[in-house]
Symmetry: C2
Subunit: 202 residues, 2 copies
């Protein structure tokens, strides 16, 4: 096999979820594409990887010092939604329901992976809250063991702000999920936190 092809395939196959077969298909597709199109792809990846920055306020991905969300005057300054990572911001933004700010921790506490609280942007979160505009912090952190540890750690740190309301996103059975297949902890939580249905609503 051509070494140039082999190199391209083996590099592509290092990407998650892309096997040798798919990598080959991608490489051969690039060969059929215009050279200009492939150059565009390469450039976009390169510019992204080397040019991307982290917002100095919320640690979200950003092209500038402040991300588009933090520099949006139309957003609700009183609420900060704390998430593990950038992808979570994108998922929540897609719902178009949340109008507050975010705070990207950059991971969760994990002694196994050597991630200590100091590796996360918790100091930065406190600084933002100390400035005084924030009234509620929503903790939208995954329900893994590490996630729960992180949640309680942050909750503890935020006790120094007596007027701050700290909430956690609702846990429960997801829409479209079968109760039969939900795990015990989720079901327990979902029953304990059951919600009153309003029989008189229209």
């Amino acid at each position: 096999m051509s070494r140039l092809l082999e190199d391209a395939v083996s590099e592509l196959a290092k990407l998650p979820g892309i096997g040798k077969r798919t990598a080959l298909r991608l490489a051969l597709h690039m060969l059929r594409s215009e050279e200009q199109e492939v150059a565009q792809l390469i450039e976009a990846i390169g510019r992204f990887r080397t040019g991307i920055r982290y917002c100095r306020e919320c640690n979200n991905l950003s092209d500038d010092e402040l991300c588009p969300i933090c520099s949006d005057p139309g957003r609700d300054r009183a609420t900060i939604c704390v998430v593990e990572q950038v992808g979570d911001v994108l998922s929540i933004e897609k719902t178009r329901q949340y109008r507050g700010f975010y705070h990207v921790l950059g991971g969760v506490i994990s002694p196994m992976q050597g991630i200590a609280p100091s590796d996360l942007k918790i100091d930065l979160l406190e600084e933002r809250i100390a400035r005084g505009d924030v009234r509620e912090v929503i903790l939208a952190i995954g329900t893994t063991v590490e996630g729960e540890t992180t949640l309680f750690y942050i909750l503890n740190r935020l006790r120094r702000f007596p007027d701050l309301k700290v909430t956690s996103i609702a846990r429960g059975i997801g829409f479209g999920d079968e109760i039969e297949y939900a795990d015990e902890l989720t079901i327990t939580h979902a029953i304990q936190n059951r919600q009153k249905l309003d029989l008189n609503s229209d």
Copy 2:
């Protein structure tokens, strides 16, 4: 969303089989990877796309004027296997059963897509045969309408070599395929071209 991220995602999502969701996952993965690793990926793709050549003998992908197969003195010069595209060579090579040369047409005749016989490397094939070493040409072309058209067209062109043996790969039910689900043409072909089983073989 960051424009750098958006650009990277939209370029990645142009690749076949990669949706917006996967593209985002790949981009975020690249962010977690070392800058060096991403640079390697980009370089390998760029070198492949701009540096790759086509073998002057067989039209296979090549790093040099002659591809590794055409420059291999251990291969059988008497046989040429004609295929549609580069991927076919790789698939046949993977079986490690075929020891002859190849000839990559670069497509099949398709009036719909504006691919005429002159767009394929058929002249080059004739030149190779005219040099006199070749005794058999195996046509390993897909069984689409365009493939069959191409096969008969080449068969006709090769009539000018009276001593040349021209064969087609066997058509039939693939290993692991259910006869129940095979199409009529394949079944008809498989029955017409049934093979005698040797009851006395050891």
